[in-house]
Symmetry: C2
Subunit: 356 residues, 2 copies
């Protein structure tokens, strides 16, 4: 039995793997999902269903479009200012980690980014709370979940300017109110589907306002106007995302998975706080439900615990080098049984230490 | 028995489908290829092998880099001038079809495109031959195979300026001399692998010369400097491309597949020229080996022949709306038996007509 706590690309439901595997051999009439035209009625059906599922699961209001792109969140770091930042204007950014920082860096090609607050000095171990967003900013950008540092923003900061959010690592993990956002983007490879797909949810009225001439493939309008088929889309990633979103729907949707995600996170944090060998790395009130970072009170025990986890079939628990220690990524598809197995492992390790 | 003559995403070898399907269930130690980290040694091995295979199969000389990107050829239409066209300079383009035309349109965001020749007036039914490429052009761009119109450029036009080629639909189908090019790009979904991957082969010394500040994900240097892992790459598409390139290698490589592609194309063109019901749409000397376009002498027979093909398990034979009639796309993975089956079908249809 393997337990995949990897940070992404990450675990998807086993039944999604089975369905995707079958579709590679026979999607329709003996043809593989890899050899069908994206212009075929069959794939147009897949695209339409994937779109509908995103809208349904996140309760996307009218006046918003769901777009399927490529290039990951990293391409969005540039596309957001390219599409939303008029020449000479400033955008406001909250700096909560490496990905926020990378997003900030890409703004310079289009204008100015003002960092309204940062927890960089504290190695991004908390989410800054009291900051002012300038009323004349073209938009305010933040990262809702910080995969590397294990912090998460559950409340949308209050502002009168358009809100843009990188939700790559917590989209579909909890209920959100899309109407509070003007643009949401997410690389697919956590809770949506395989790598190679990016989802954008955009309020239609904010498009076409920057006054910039934008190359077709970098213009959100090209995707909106062509049902995300301006050119050949990433067919297999979209198909598998559709399977995965259907799985989420069958589980009861985002509200139900949120309960499960809360239960999973609560259980593991409880053990981290109880077990004298381990400690969390973040401010308690900002703890992420998706990526749970922890270190050992005695750093010399890190290697032995890592080996113990490895020997017992645990994958992807190594912390990012900028935090060290361990990171348990617990996306939607990670079963709670894997979390319990990890807790058991931590307790067994504690008992072993006590015997020494 | 199905025969998939689709223009792309298109047929891949059946054994590649089988291997890809298996890897979705179990790539390594019970983990799916969709749930492994792109930073794992296993995937780094896949990436390195895919890179090596491209170099080996195309005999890429030293001083060139092979890059794996997303966004298709359409994103390259913008990335090429963004990376290679200095402010105020002009690039030379050969207009041989819709894709060349789209590439030309994206230049305007960065500078000027000079169309050195066009066959637009003749519905792109031939490749312009006598044209001059200005010696002060920043580069010369052409499309080697025109999927929609069924024409192909087998000789690289002579010029002293850097040569950029969109080889999306004939890369890996015939031997090329990479040293004649400064940049080659190709959407993967014909002869390389599944949709969602783009390959770029670039002469290192032409990078960083445009004087432009380029966003990270749009800068070829980011891919070159990070082994195409500046961010999460399209893992599954790269893995399947690796399988497919390995298949090509096992078949004897590009020189061998070129012989087979020639034999396939020769056989079908021979039948088109012989069969009084059919005729080709392009100049004979410019006929593509990848996409064979033909119409019926009597347009009233198009529907009956389309139905006859459909009833007999032939997929994707409908011509593009801008040419009409039929298009048989015959990429590397289409077996010659499918070509013979199509020829038989055309002859049976002829016999049926003679009986009427």
């Amino acid at each position: 039995m393997r337990h995949n706590f990897g940070a992404g690309p990450c675990i998807l439901p086993q039944e999604v793997f089975k369905q995707a595997s079958r579709a590679i051999l026979d999607f329709k009439d003996g043809l593989s999902i890899l050899e069908i035209s994206h212009r075929s009625p069959e794939f147009e059906g897949v695209m339409a269903e994937a779109n509908k599922l995103v809208k349904e699961l996140l309760n996307v209001p009218s006046g918003y479009s769901v777009l399927f792109l490529q290039g990951g969140a990293s391409l969005q770091f540039a596309m957001v200012p390219m599409n939303l930042l008029p020449e000479g204007k400033t955008a406001a950014y909250l700096e909560t980690g490496v990905w926020a920082n990378k997003a900030i860096k890409e703004v310079k090609f289009f204008g100015k980014a003002e960092v309204v607050a940062s927890s960089k000095e504290a190695n991004f171990s908390f989410i800054p709370k009291d900051f002012a967003i300038p009323a004349d900013a073209a938009y305010f950008h933040y990262t809702s979940n910080n995969t590397i540092y294990g912090t998460e923003l559950f409340e949308v900061p209050k502002t009168t300017v358009p809100v843009v959010c990188d939700m790559s690592s917590d989209i579909m993990s909890r209920v959100i109110d899309v109407s509070q956002f003007d643009l949401i983007y997410a690389g697919a490879q956590k809770n949506i589907g395989p790598a190679g797909l990016t989802i954008v949810i955009v309020k239609d009225e904010i498009l076409g306002q920057s006054g910039r001439a934008i190359p077709s493939m970098l213009d959100y309008a090209s995707y909106k106007d062509n049902d995300s088929m301006y050119n050949t889309p990433p067919v297999f990633s979209i198909y598998t995302a559709m399977l995965n979103l259907n799985w989420l729907k069958s589980k009861g949707g985002v509200a139900e998975i949120e309960k499960e995600n809360k239960a999973k996170a609560d259980a593991l944090y409880k053990e981290i706080d109880r077990n004298p060998l381990f400690k969390g790395t973040c401010a308690v009130e900002d703890r992420s439900r998706m990526n749970i970072c922890f270190v050992m009170e005695n750093p010399e025990l890190e290697k032995p615990f890592a080996k113990f986890a490895d020997d017992n079939g645990f994958e992807g628990l190594k912390g990012h080098r900028s935090v060290g220690g361990f990171r348990a990524s617990m996306y939607n598809a990670l079963p709670i049984t894997s979390v319990h197995a990890l807790i058991d492992l931590m307790q067994e390790f504690e008992e072993k230490q006590n015997k020494n």
